[in-house]
């Protein structure tokens, strides 16, 4: 068996591999379920039902999908340049802190559109500011961004907990005796609640404004990365930093710009959490959801294509939503995480099929130069 690099990547594999991965994950999980005495048919029917087919399931799934679309796009934006920003988690928190601060400061004095605009800006600014820390360190001191962005996730999570549980901060509700005993965030003013679009496709579906924003962002990212000089240079730097340097591309600026962009997208997801769903700075809810890490799965599954990322976010959102609603005695806990993991593993394995050709039988003899140019 020989493995060699493909000269041309087969386009159909770009679709076949993710689809095959999902099918493979369902098959493997069915074996695990059988081995542990659960009925896979029954479990899967309930899973799909509560993800997509039950009353109100699609609206719930969109709710779960929205943050994943943001963090997925954030990861995709950075990973395209081989910048491994795994700080989407913390950047989302920073965005949520910024968005909530603006909403609380403005209070009921301004209308909803102004709230949406300013909360989005504050959220994006918060996420971008946090992402710029690893970006600056990477650009000027060549510090590995993987670990620094990861460490900042923990620092930001602790900051978030401090604001709600550890102090009498501006974000914390201290108005009633109960709120002083069971700490929670201050309720945002009513006009800071983002509107949702009601669709009627046979049954009513609520599309959160955040999800529409994410779709708009996907369009924007597709344009920037696919159709502009900036996007082209980012691609070249990602593929071959040396070639980019010889061509006179400004790598440092790109690192700052791309990380800032990635952080801003994740931060916007945080503001959307405040405005669309939680209507307070929900420290516990945000830190338990791990949107940032799942976003990396989403980006990898979508092969860093913005539109595919949104689609994958919708599918994984359904899986997560089903996981939440089905938690209980007759539904195996941890199933959703295991399935996400297997899907991701098989997608990663499938990458091999996209990039390399597997030949069985006698190939070129060892020691002869490869017919393809070395990278």
């Amino acid at each position: 068996v020989r493995i060699e690099r493909r000269l041309e990547r087969a386009r159909w594999l770009n679709v076949a591999v993710p689809v095959g991965s999902i099918a493979f994950a369902f098959a493997v999980m069915a074996l695990v379920l059988l081995a542990t005495g659960h009925d896979p048919g029954f479990t899967y029917r309930r899973l799909l039902d509560s993800a997509f087919f039950a009353d109100g399931a699609i609206s719930q799934t969109l709710t779960s999908a929205t943050p994943l679309a943001f963090t997925g796009l954030a990861a995709a934006a950075a990973f395209r340049m081989q910048l491994f920003n795994i700080g989407g988690e913390g950047q989302l928190y920073a965005g949520a802190i910024g968005g909530a601060a603006v909403a609380l400061l403005l209070g009921g004095a301004v209308s909803t559109p102004v709230h949406v605009l300013l909360m989005s800006l504050a959220g994006a600014a918060g996420g971008a500011a946090l992402a710029l820390v690893p970006a600056v360190l990477r650009a000027f001191l060549r510090t590995n961004e993987i670990i620094t962005s990861l460490m900042l996730n923990y620092v930001t999570a602790l900051l978030l907990n401090y604001l709600i549980f550890g102090s009498q901060s501006f974000w914390r509700d201290t108005s009633t005796p109960e709120a002083r005993v069971f700490p929670q965030g201050k309720a945002l003013p009513d006009s800071a609640a983002w509107p949702a679009a009601a669709l009627d496709l046979g049954r009513p579906i609520l599309v959160p404004l955040g999800f529409l924003l994410a779709l708009g962002l996907a369009l924007g990212l597709w344009f920037v990365y696919g159709r502009t000089r900036f996007g082209f240079e980012v691609q070249v730097i990602g593929d071959s930093p040396r070639a980019a340097r010889y061509a006179g591309m400004r790598t440092r600026r790109k690192i700052l710009a791309v990380m800032g962009l990635s952080g801003a997208v994740a931060g916007l997801g945080g503001a959307s959490q405040d405005g669309d769903f939680r209507h307070q700075l929900d420290a516990r809810g945000l830190t338990q959801a791990s949107y940032g890490y799942t976003g990396i799965v989403v980006a990898a599954l979508g092969r860093y294509n913005p539109f595919a990322v949104c689609l994958v976010a919708f599918l994984l959102g359904g899986l997560q939503n089903a996981g939440y609603t089905l938690q209980g005695a007759d539904f195996p806990s941890g199933l959703v995480g295991v399935m996400q993991g297997i899907i991701l593993f098989s997608t990663l394995g499938g990458e091999l099929l996209i990039r390399y050709r597997v030949r069985v039988g006698r190939g070129l003899r060892r020691g002869h130069p490869s017919p393809e140019p070395a990278r």
Partner: protein, 319 residues
């Protein structure tokens, strides 16, 4: 004197640092071979749950049961690492994404939770657990008694392991080969060293040690099983390897510093000191970033830097 603040703090820092030490030594071995494994948290959790399963289900003398449980935990961790090794060494997948996938697959919302639930382990007190040994009856000595002579067996095993790993890397032929594989796989390959073999072996060893690290929680520190028992220790262990410049002896120092930071908030709270625990808890992460910045400066990189081939897949024709 032995009840004093400092002695209690140091003795407990050792206890809380031990899971970090095991996991960090494992990650160190994997990274020295050029394989970055971000799945430590997941491997620790699976090790913790399987180790706990072993003590709950096995009968026999406590010592034998605990030894078996540690071996079960190591095996479980190694199995998890095998998935990662297969993907990144054989299939050359992205090490970062694969490691994250491993944490999602095995972690607090994945396999470890599934196993804990399905094997019905949550909420029950442990049938057997590691307890302080009171070595040579010296546990009552002033100062050193509680710190050196009154720890559980895993603490002593971890000390032996630090010495073993340090010796292995610096003084043995396989250790030298390992470092060659991590620095320049092409050169190692040309010397006839099996890059694939070394990477598989050390990634698996890393998984086994992460599993033992996780079991340190479920068998010694808090002898029970709850979802997400390790609480992010796996990530700290990854940071610790960098903090320790990829050296075993410095891993020990770092693990105990980080252990102190995880114990100090509990201690201060019980003493009625009002300082935000979040502040103390964030220090290990901030320190890691600072150390990383220092390490990546030019001088440090030349003298102490990471294995040069860390994170880079090796393909013979492209090497």
């Amino acid at each position: 004197m032995n009840d004093s603040f400092a002695v209690d703090l140091i003795a407990n820092s050792l206890q809380y640092g031990t899971p970090l030490l095991f996991a960090a030594l494992g990650e160190l071995l994997a990274e020295r071979s050029g394989v970055l494994n971000l799945g430590v948290e997941g491997m620790m959790l699976v090790g913790a749950v399987m180790g706990f399963w072993a003590v709950q289900r096995l009968d026999g003398p406590t010592g034998a049961v605990l030894l078996t449980a540690v071996l079960v935990a190591a095996l479980a961790g190694a199995l998890m690492a095998l998935v990662h090794a297969f993907l990144v060494v054989t299939l050359r997948a992205s090490q970062i994404v694969s490691g994250l996938a491993l944490t999602i697959f095995a972690g607090a919302l994945g396999l470890s939770s599934y196993l804990g639930n399905d094997l019905d382990l949550a909420g029950a007190p442990a049938e057997h657990a590691f307890s302080p040994l009171d070595l040579f009856g010296l546990g009552d000595l002033p100062l050193v008694g509680p710190i050196v002579f009154d720890q559980n067996a895993l603490v002593y095993v971890s000390w032996a392991l630090v010495a073993a790993v340090g010796f292995y890397l610096a003084r043995t032929r396989p250790g030298l080969n390992l470092r060659a594989v991590g620095e320049s796989p092409a050169a190692a390959d040309a010397m006839g060293i099996s890059v694939t073999g070394y990477r598989y072996a050390h990634t698996l060893a890393g998984g086994a040690l992460a599993g033992i690290g996780g079991a340190t929680f479920s068998l010694a520190i808090t002898p029970q099983w709850v979802d997400g028992l390790t609480g992010g220790s796996g990530w700290i262990a990854i940071a610790l390897v960098i903090f320790a410049f990829w050296r075993a002896d410095l891993c020990l120092v770092g693990a105990y510093i980080f252990g102190a930071f995880s114990y100090l908030p509990l201690k201060l709270q019980s003493q009625g000191v009002t300082i935000a625990p979040e502040l103390l808890q964030s220090l290990p992460y901030v320190m890691t970033v600072l150390v990383l910045v220092l390490v990546s400066s030019g001088f440090a990189k030349r003298r102490l830097g990471a294995p040069a081939a860390l994170g880079v897949p090796y393909l013979r024709e492209e090497g």
